[in-house]
């Protein structure tokens, strides 16, 4: 009897496997279909749509369909061909040689060639791109022939190979920009790129319209005929638009997290949190280390123990988050979890505060501090309220300070806060997106997204510098592991959550998130399945 049951189970399992195999074969046979109009939300309306001149999130989404980089990156952030079909890095890490794709045309019909790449990396980016300016300032760029570009460095720079995506190094047409004032060039309102979609129209306050580039270098691509990026200011209206199939795609912060599970459960929609590996956003509580009591590591550790980050993840971010262990995002190839960790333990927090001599007064208050919350809406307000409550339970009285974005940025960049909440993309390489928040030389008063907390440790500075100029990936990984251990031990920042931005799209829309650039991919492969 037992044997028969087992046999029956095996039989059923085999039937399931067979059915799945058939379904898989069917799916593999299903050819992507040509045509269709993709309607996507886009909010807020971007200030411009040329990557580099503007780097706002809503600029990137349409712009990444028009422009391309030399490379793109898969989910593990390994480089993949784009405008460069192959590349070689010399063993000493000082020479990068790119072989460019042939037969690529700009949207105005001109041929794409090595001069465009040289111009983009030596003129366009240094002039307008604040994020990539320091990276390409290290390189000398030459074009030995029309389809070869060589970058040489005086010393190796590890993150360089992860700097050639469309966001970090967009390639723009030399024949359009050369000799002009880049910021005033008329092409900024009607951009000319090499991407699978051409700019068609920008109706102010309404939409940006892109159309298929029939002369795209990859035969038969793109599949879609056109894309409309529709500006819908209200998040409830954006959710309704997805719900009623009026739009097919929303991403990042388009949808309030409270709505995500409801929309994801709808049969006509799908949701993924993949595709933001290049951005790797982490939210943290920043303490001003120039002030007491934050300059005492025991206080910072007490804060970590007082915060229940599982609660923050599950109840404030509705599960669309992960708990970070330190400064580097868990999706990074340089990440390690072998670092000191801080479990939720208010008693431990109290013991650390006792050890500091912060005794509770008659009202049970040991210290009074201010918290400037990120003014990005209700979710961040709730986070501030939770922090106030959690720290209050260990005797730290928190006063929540409010401001709009401008005031918030101004106070943080001028170091005029006790504590603040924020999030920042940590980008494709720690040298590009992580070091800036920890190294001493990046304490620049008045400049946002620098080391505003005032953290300083010469050993950490040395490790970051060494890792940046180390050509060997394994050695870099080892150096970054050391950084993570030190910085986590010193609680340079109180890392709260890794944000998992949802991309919600029509179930009929395929190939939306294919690599580490996610919705900022060029959508050449995206198609509607009928």
């Amino acid at each position: 009897m037992r044997r028969r049951t087992t046999m029956g189970l095996i039989g059923r399992l085999m039937a399931v496997v067979f059915a799945l195999a058939l379904a898989g074969a069917g799916a593999a046979r299903a050819e992507p279909q040509q045509g269709g109009t993709l309607n996507s939300t886009l909010w807020p309306e971007p200030p411009g749509i040329v990557i580099g001149i503007h780097l706002n999130a809503p600029t990137l989404l349409p712009s990444s369909k028009i422009f391309e980089g030399l490379l793109t990156y898969d989910f593990a952030l390994s480089p993949q061909p784009m405008l460069a079909e192959s590349w070689e890095v010399s063993e000493d890490g000082l020479t990068y040689t790119f072989k460019l794709r042939q037969g690529v045309k700009w949207h105005d019909g001109e041929d794409f060639n090595a001069e465009d790449v040289v111009y983009s990396l030596t003129k366009f980016i240094p002039e307008v791109h604040p994020r990539s300016r320091p990276t390409f300032a290290r390189t000398k760029v030459t074009a030995p022939d029309d389809h070869t570009v060589v970058l040489t460095l005086e010393e190796p720079y590890g993150p360089l190979i992860r700097s050639f995506d469309v966001i970090g190094a967009p390639i723009v047409p030399e024949h359009v920009y050369n000799g002009s004032d880049i910021r005033e060039n008329p092409a900024n309102r009607a951009p000319i790129g090499t991407g699978p979609f051409k700019f068609s129209e920008w109706a102010s306050g309404e939409y940006i319209h892109l159309v298929r580039n029939d002369a795209y270098w990859l035969d038969g691509r793109p599949y879609l005929d056109e894309i409309y990026y529709r500006f819908i200011p209200d998040s409830a209206s954006r959710a309704l638009a997805l719900e009623t199939d009026q739009v097919h795609l929303a991403t990042q912060n388009d949808i309030e997290l409270v709505d995500v599970a409801r929309l994801a459960a709808m049969p006509h929609l799908e949701m993924t949190t993949k595709g933001w590996e290049w951005g790797a956003p982490i939210s943290w509580l920043e303490m001003n280390l120039r002030r007491e009591p934050f300059n005492d590591v025991r206080f910072r550790k007490a804060v970590m123990h007082a915060l229940n980050r599982e609660f923050i993840r599950d109840s404030i971010f509705f599960g669309l988050a992960a708990i970070p262990t330190g400064p580097i995002h868990s999706s990074s190839p340089f990440y390690t979890d072998d670092v000191p960790t801080y479990e939720y333990d208010p008693e431990k927090a109290k013991a650390l505060l006792d050890e500091m001599g912060l005794e509770a007064d008659a009202d049970g208050v040991r210290a009074k501090i201010g918290l400037l919350g990120l003014p990005y809406g209700e979710l961040w307000d709730r986070l501030s309220q939770y922090i106030r409550q959690a720290l209050g339970e260990v005797g730290v009285e928190v006063t929540i300070e409010t401001s709009d974005v401008a005031g918030w940025g101004s106070r943080i960049s001028n170091w005029d806060v006790d504590m603040s909440t924020t999030y920042l993309t940590t980008l494709s390489d720690p040298a590009l997106g992580v070091a800036r928040s920890y190294i001493t030389e990046n304490q620049r008063k008045g400049v946002l997204f620098t080391n505003t907390s005032g953290y300083t440790n010469p050993e950490v500075d040395r490790l970051f510098a060494e890792a940046a100029s180390e050509p060997n990936e394994d050695k870099r990984r080892e150096l970054y592991h050391q950084v993570q251990k030190i910085v986590a031990d010193e609680v340079a920042l109180a890392w709260l959550v890794e944000l998992q931005w949802p991309t919600i799209h029509s179930a009929k829309l395929k190939n939306v998130v294919r690599n580490g650039l996610g919705p900022n991919d060029n959508f050449a492969e995206a198609y509607f399945e009928e």
């Binding site: 109009t37 309607n39 807020p44 309306e45 200030p47 411009g48 503007h54 780097l55 706002n56 999130a57 604040p130 994020r131 300016r133 320091p134 910021r183 005033e184 900024n188 309102r189 109706a203 102010s204 306050g205 309404e206 939409y207 409309y228 529709r230 500006f231 819908i232 200011p233 209200d234 409830a236 209206s237 309704l240 638009a241 719900e243 009623t244 009026q246 739009v247 401001s403 709009d404 974005v405 401008a406 005031g407 918030w408 940025g409 101004s410 106070r411 960049s413 920042l424 993309t425 620049r444 008045g446 400049v447 946002l448 997204f449 620098t450």
Partner: protein, 325 residues
Amino acid sequence: MPQLGFVLQWVVKALAVVLAITILNFFLIRLAPGDPAVVMAGEAGAADQQFLDQVRRDFGLDQPLAVQLATYVKNVLTLDLGQSFRTGRPVADMIFERLPATLLLTGTAYVFALIVGPLLGAIAAMRPRSVFDSLLMVVALVFYATPIFWVGLLLILVFSVQLGWLPPFGMQSMIPVKGALAGTLDVIRHLILPAVTLGLFYIAVYVRLTRASMLETATLDYVKTARAKGLPEWRVATAHILRTALIPIITFAGLQAGHLVGGAIVVETVFAWPGIGRLAFDALFQRDYNLLLGVFLISALMVVFFNMVTDIVLRIADPRIAGRA
């Protein structure tokens, strides 16, 4: 001719008021904490000193405040509203791209409310404490008290999501309709829900105002005299009561007309209507000084202009006002 003198006097006063408002706004905006360059850096998620210096230099923010003001006023007098900090585009272009959409929305709602509101209010006043009057007052109170965004979302849920009769947002279809007639009809379809949402709020105000004003006027002696003369009730109501009762309504309508430019931010947000209210709202949070000052200037001009129109209309409606002036 005295009317012409009045208008000329008004224009001079109006220009002085607009100039004073411009200067006041210039300083008020700068009182708000926050540096536009830092906001732009924040939006871009990237910043370095070069970027901040560039922004400050490009928009003259590195100059002393007095120099900035003098430059701005001089430019405004030559009808140059400057460039938006955020987009780098001429402010006038950005405003005039959006102005028609806002005027269409607020103008439709306003006219709709000006016709329906006083009419319903007058009917209610003629039969005070009747079932119609009581019901109307309750409904008006509900629409007056309910947040406008909530009314908008409810209308979307009923007429777009459930019934599918009308589009939920935007000023035209996702894929713009071709042809002038089809295009106009498409815009009208999109206009209905936001205009009704905004109109319901205005109507609620006019209904209550008209009713109260008429009931008060109805107690005056000259109305009693009119009735005593044996005039029919409808004639007493229209020729005697309504004309006098219209004075506060005209005053209110005039004040409201001046706010047509910026008065629809919430409705524009809920319905993704590409208007100027939203443009101003975003400009405020982005510390886009030039754009904000441009919107304020247009708004001030509208307020001043409609105040003038209201004064003229009031002098026609009630000749005693001209006599007093």
